[in-house]
Symmetry: C2
Subunit: 465 residues, 2 copies
């Protein structure tokens, strides 16, 4: 094919040589046309490569994604239930079979997976470089979450401890499957001295390095369960932050309470800031030289702290209080929904919540429609229409997002003496069955009695009409 | 912009009118060029839309997918480790937020999730219709697997039963995460009378209906673990079959042994044949009128059957033996690798296997390279070069794919009297740690002692060089 330059020269030369025959006109015109076509072709190709776009027409949306109804309270960002657009291209997303030989951060001898090693440097650039080398993981990376949880390496002291942990794990796996989230369960201490709640940062650091394709690591304690299987994290709210925890700003800054936040559930961005933060946070731990000193500092700072030893939750509040610019400003204290919810203010309300949702389903045919588990998210906007006045907190009747059994200690059985072991056990069974019902619905079954995990019934067609 | 036709007419008209000025030449040439460009642009756009291609240049493959080295034994299909091509487009694969209002099988009142209802009719067409309505799930559907496993609803009788089940579950989740497979853990009997091993078909049927996007359902018993975290099912081998089990044809057809196959691990296609098959298979179960009769038939047919009652494994062999055309011909009896492996012939060899693999790693720098968990599959072809003579069976030293602790009964603790409870426990701990080491490697750690699940060490850079 003639290049644009060539055809241009051809024209110039012809112009020089005066008149042209009809054939000459035709051929030179054709060359110009073809040349233009070629250039355009290359341009489109290059542009599409650059922007990684696949120009497929979007299928006609029926239950299309819409924002949540604006919340009543002023100044509150509306929560967006689902991504702004459908995803028309169904080709498998990840290219798991190519790892180019080009060097990247993994080839650096100085890289350490250990929390005791200094934080990795230039982690943001290193992740970016890895993503460039593995472009199939780059698309959609900003919303990609990896859930991390775990428990101890040995059997639980509580005879039914592992039974409960198994059910809590299943609950998390169910949530992840419904939403396309990956999950890693860790059951060994990466730093042997960082026992119990301290085990989180060693696990999270190693996970961040093992998963450069994940933007967010979502740590969830082994005794926390999803009780709203539909709800999705409003990631847009956290765009400018690197760590999300549940808590009450007043209790942090005014009351200075060690329970002003909960460190059992957190969302942390896979970035340099997080690596640096975890290094500081971990330095308050039992393996660190400053452990005893931190025990004193934290006990002094937080009057309501019940035990002397340094703990990671007090440590986190301390960093929020004392180092606002470096850490506090990047930590989002979420209090508008149960990003983490205290079971005692939740479990007693589950029956009422069940009734309320059932009432809605009785009225709305669309919500009774059977469907594949994988398209459950399509029904979120339909639910939202009817849940807009439900209320997210203790005075409302929305399904609580996450119910956390703080104080119940299912593994050791050393529950807070405020309540009995039976109370805790029944509450956990109930919450887990409440959640399981939302999952099993897509498999055609449900528990009639939330306290009886052994029995399910077939759900009739068009239930509960 | 001038259309191609317009510029063509312009040229004709100019030709008619004789001579042209330089400016006229320039403008008409430009129009031609631009016109050609526009047409080419539209053509490329249309073509790309039609073929759903994103014209990203494929990154230079280094560890590109290749078939396994041909196996020595004649007539054996070579096992293909990875898909034939990389997947350049990283856009999220599934559109989970659209469920068109068009009617499909879910809207049929006669659809039942229960194993006791007659099998669904025209299931293949119904799945196809659903996929048409949900095109993002159609691409890649032929290799899409959903793993299913589970255990009882109540705590295990064995005090460490749930502890072991939790670890077996983690093991499966690890395998699934490495290979992009979904997993559903069921812990309630969908048909209350179909207890124990009978619980599989009720679970699998409901799962098939809940997951029309899954081509294969892969049932794995709660006491089976993945001990080769890299190996992938050679799905191409099963193209013409609908059910895959591990077994020995000689033991089925000649010896007529009830242990000629193992029903604890099976791969079943989400299709009409499977629905019909499961209906027949389940009709031998405790909830069915023919249960006692089947007990007699199976005990008579299989001389080595140890207990009188009908069981699903004997039932399956029976169907293979007696109904070859209807069932047998579509059931692939896999005996060339540990699609399911008996732990007693495996666990004693794990230390040797560990050494052999370590020897290879010492020699091959590429295999020592740290990498993201998500691209572990890239290294399969590199390993294959060195494993081609390793051998898949009991006389070889390949990592066994799946190790099944038949006879150990971790949940009830009622193990076969051939071995002690301690023997079983140690064997399970060892196999699980052997597998965990393959996973933890990407997180920077490993167990030194396979019998000590509590301890891991940091893996040095370039280990084990």
């Amino acid at each position: 094919m003639v290049s644009p330059e060539q055809s241009h020269y051809q024209n110039l030369s012809m112009a020089k040589h005066g008149g042209r025959s009809k054939t000459t006109y035709f051929f030179s015109d054709t060359f110009l046309y073809a040349g233009g076509a070629l250039v355009a072709f290359l341009l489109v190709w290059a542009l599409l490569s650059f922007f990684s776009l696949s120009p497929n027409p979007t299928p006609t949306p029926s239950f299309s994604s819409t924002s949540f109804t604006e919340r009543k309270s002023a100044g509150v960002e509306s929560l967006d239930a689902s991504p702004a657009q459908g995803c028309p291209d169904g080709a498998s997303s990840f290219d798991m079979v190519h790892d180019p030989q080009d060097q990247n951060f993994y080839d650096d001898q100085k890289l350490s997976y250990s929390i005791e090693a200094p934080p990795v440097k230039n982690w943001d650039e290193k992740r970016r470089e890895w993503l460039k080398q593995h472009p199939s993981f780059a698309a959609g990376v900003e919303n990609r979450i990896l859930m991390v949880t775990g428990s101890q390496a040995k059997p639980c002291k509580n005879p039914i401890g592992d039974y409960l942990l198994l059910k809590f794990f299943k609950n998390k796996v169910d949530y992840c499957r419904r939403h396309g989230i990956e999950i890693f369960y860790n059951n060994v201490l990466f730093q042997p001295k960082m026992f119990s709640f301290w085990a989180k940062t060693p696990t999270v650091k190693a996970t961040m390095l093992a998963h450069p394709e994940a933007e967010w690591i979502w740590w969830i304690d082994s005794d926390a369960a999803f009780t709203d299987m539909d709800f999705k994290l409003p990631l847009d709210r956290y765009k400018a932050h690197n760590l999300v925890i549940h808590g009450w700003p007043k209790l942090i800054y005014e009351k200075k309470s060690w329970t002003s936040i909960n460190a059992g559930v957190f969302l942390i961005r896979n970035c340099q800031w997080a690596m640096d933060f975890m290094d500081v946070w971990a330095s308050m731990g039992p393996q660190a030289p400053g452990y005893d000193k931190w025990g004193e500092i934290l006990s002094t700072t937080f009057e309501d702290k019940i035990f002397q030893e340094s703990d990671d939750q007090s440590g986190l509040v301390y960093l929020l209080l004392k180092e606002k610019e470096k850490w506090g400003d990047k930590i989002y204290v979420e209090s508008e929904f149960y990003f983490e919810g205290y079971w005692m203010e939740i479990v007693g309300r589950l029956d009422n919540i069940t009734e309320r949702y059932k009432e809605i389903e009785k009225r709305v045919g669309t919500l009774r429609r059977r469907h594949a588990e994988k398209v459950s998210e399509s029904y979120i906007p339909v639910w939202e229409e009817y849940l807009k006045d439900a209320g997210f907190g203790r005075d409302g009747w929305r399904r609580p997002f996450i119910t956390h059994f703080t104080g119940c200690q299912p593994c050791s059985g050393d529950h807070n003496k405020m309540y009995s072991g039976q109370t805790c056990f029944d509450a956990m069974q109930k919450a887990l069955a409440f959640a399981d019902n939302q999952v099993l619905r897509n498999y055609g079954f449900m528990h009639q009695d939330l306290l009886d995990p052994s029995t399910v019934n077939l759900v009739p067609f068009d239930y509960p009409a």
